[in-house]
Amino acid sequence: MTIVRTEKLSKVYNADTVPVHALNNVCIEIDEGEFTALRGPSGSGKTTLLNMIGGLDKPTEGKVFINGEEISKMKDSQRIDFRLRNIGFVFQHYNLIPVFTAAENVAFIMMLQGRDKREIQERTNKLLDQVGLGDRKDARPAQLSGGQQQRVAVARALASEPRFILADEPTANLDTKAAMNLLDIMEKMNREQSITFVFSTHDQRVIDRARRVITMVDGAIDQDEIQDPDNTQAG
């Protein structure tokens, strides 16, 4: 089943001064259960594409459908609500709420969804256990390492039970061990709960572990290939 579909997606920044064509007629489809990497040189439009798909920004032209709903034409408040119910985000810079503990950061999303208190607590514990932070629940972001913070961010992204998670360079600030650890967690969730992951990255080790790799150049899709992560890893 298709989760994300874009139709001739274009984005022009600074249209009235020095126009930057960040995206040109991008058409992609992403199916449920994919584990897809988005790669390309700096400035090729990866972040822009993720923002459009996640409804954080509006395209200049073209359409974005999530689960068949056209997110690109929703009003601001509708989009916020839609994101809360359907999309999880992990950003390059951890972006946790500094005054909340790890557990509170995760629970906050569910609180916004208006869930039952006990359910929130159980699910928070479960999610933090899943990302291997069961013993650091009450730590504030400042007391966690970069990798730990990024794992909290993944747990938070999962809290709302989204169908898919968008991650913009989730491993960019992590060392190899932490990056691989985060990938393990994401992969496990993808395999066991068939949560769809789309992440941008420059990191070859991360790209090697994706099953589909989309390469962007100058705001357009240059290559789109399926790979066998176990093979590439071995080779």
């Binding site: 923002n51 954080l56 920004d57 916020i80 985000f89 500094p98 005054v99 909340f100 609180m111 916004l112």
Partner: protein, 406 residues
């Protein structure tokens, strides 16, 4: 909601020192404003009390015609029944004082002067304004005595003293001629200058007889427990006297010039308060401004993970309100304690002497009227709401991506 409160609370304490400085500044403003107002109000309450008890009373009952024509013809009948009725109208009434007032000529054997003649009940008058304490010489008149007490200024002009005889000449009720000779039992150093130069006090019965006004008075002066109860008591009195020919006036209606004077005097402290709050408001605004600007990126994250702009604004509103509630409460508590500690301020030296010369006690009592505490709280809340407009507009206009980039 609890989560929003928690978020707001922790955000406030992210920068403890800044928050404490902001709160202290507001506490200081509230404290200064309340103390300033309390002192002013306290001294004005004393002043009003003096003015009012030596002239009009907080409230005065008159015949409805007396206001347009202050003549003995428009006096009204006063007896125990009316007295009970008035006293029963409101429990906050402490004392009722009947007076029969008219204008006459006061004369010695060679010259005459205009005089305001008061028929009074000596013991009531003493309860009401302790007039006996202002005797310069002699004693106050006793009930039904054929005698007068007069302002020392008037006596000096007529070159009369205690034991001399004063002639009063004038008109009684309905044009009856009225004149009589009275022994002077005492001279009053009246605290109100004009009265010192014109007042003559007779026992009420004697005055009624002189003026052919048996059983009549021109005004019934009424005291209340506290000056600020005047309007409320006026309302209950008015409804009690609804069906009669009697009307009720309050002291601001009887002495509008006194109120004007007070308003003028209060203008300066009011202006100071406004300046104080403008300065404090700017400081508060500065704190909220930095608290907002340094968190724009965080706001972007909150919005991108699904927090509604309305909820985020609510959190920021709570932050502003928590700061102001803490500041206002401590300001009010501190000022109350401070006022209790200094109350009443006893003047000393020249200032004290000047006040004593005017016939006042050399103390400034503090006012504890509750509204002055609440009003300052209200001002701070209004400032807080005004200050809150900035983060509100920022959040409503925030572009999520730009915020996340910053």
């Amino acid at each position: 909601m609890m989560t929003f409160l928690k978020l707001a609370w922790r955000n406030i304490w992210r920068n403890k020192r800044r928050t404490m400085i902001t709160i202290s500044a507001i506490v200081f403003a509230v404290l200064a404003a309340i103390v300033m107002q309390s002192m002013n109000r306290g001294s004005y309450e004393v002043m009003i009390d003096r003015m009012v008890s030596f002239s009009t009373g907080y409230l005065q009952v008159q015949d409805y015609r007396y206001d347009s024509e202050a003549s003995l013809d428009n006096a009204f009948h006063y007896d125990d029944a009316l007295r009970e009725k008035v006293l029963g109208a409101d429990p906050r009434i402490t004392i009722v004082v009947p007076r029969l007032e008219t204008f006459m000529l006061a004369a010695n054997d060679v010259s005459t002067r205009g005089a305001i003649v008061f028929g009074v009940k000596p013991e009531k008058e003493q309860d009401f304004n302790q007039i006996g304490n202002y005797l310069a010489e002699g004693r106050f008149v006793e009930a039904n005595e054929q005698a007068v007490v007069m302002g020392k200024g008037l006596a000096d002009r007529l070159q009369l003293g205690v034991g001399d005889t004063l002639a009063l000449i004038g008109q009684g009720r309905f044009g009856m001629s009225a004149s009589g000779l009275f022994e002077i039992t005492g001279l009053i150093e009246h605290p109100i200058h004009d009265m010192n130069n014109s007042a003559v006090f007779l026992p009420l019965g004697t005055a009624q007889e002189l003026l052919s006004a048996e059983g009549h008075i021109t005004g019934l002066l009424i005291s209340v427990q506290q000056a600020r109860q005047t309007d409320a008591v006026a309302r209950s009195l008015r409804s009690t006297l609804e069906d009669s020919e009697l009307v009720v006036f309050t002291w601001p209606e009887l002495m509008p010039e006194l109120l004007e004077l007070m308003e003028m005097d209060l203008a300066v402290p009011r202006l100071l308060t406004v300046v104080l709050y403008v300065v404090i408001g700017l400081g508060f605004f500065g704190t909220v401004l930095t608290m907002t600007m340094e968190r724009l990126r965080e706001f972007g994250v909150l919005l991108s993970v699904g927090m509604k702009r309305g909820s985020l604004s609510l959190v920021l509103l709570i932050e502003t309100l928590i700061i102001s509630v803490m500041a206002v409460t401590s300001g009010i508590v501190l000022s109350w304690v401070l006022l209790k500690l200094v109350d009443p301020i006893t003047l000393s030296g020249d200032a004290a002497q000047a006040v004593i010369d005017m016939g006042f006690d050399p103390i400034i009592p503090m006012s504890f009227a509750p509204d002055q505490f609440f009003i300052q709280g209200l001002y701070v809340f209004l400032i807080a709401l005004l200050v809150f407009l900035f983060p509100l507009i920022k959040v409503l206009r925030l572009n999520i991506l730009e915020a996340a980039r910053s």
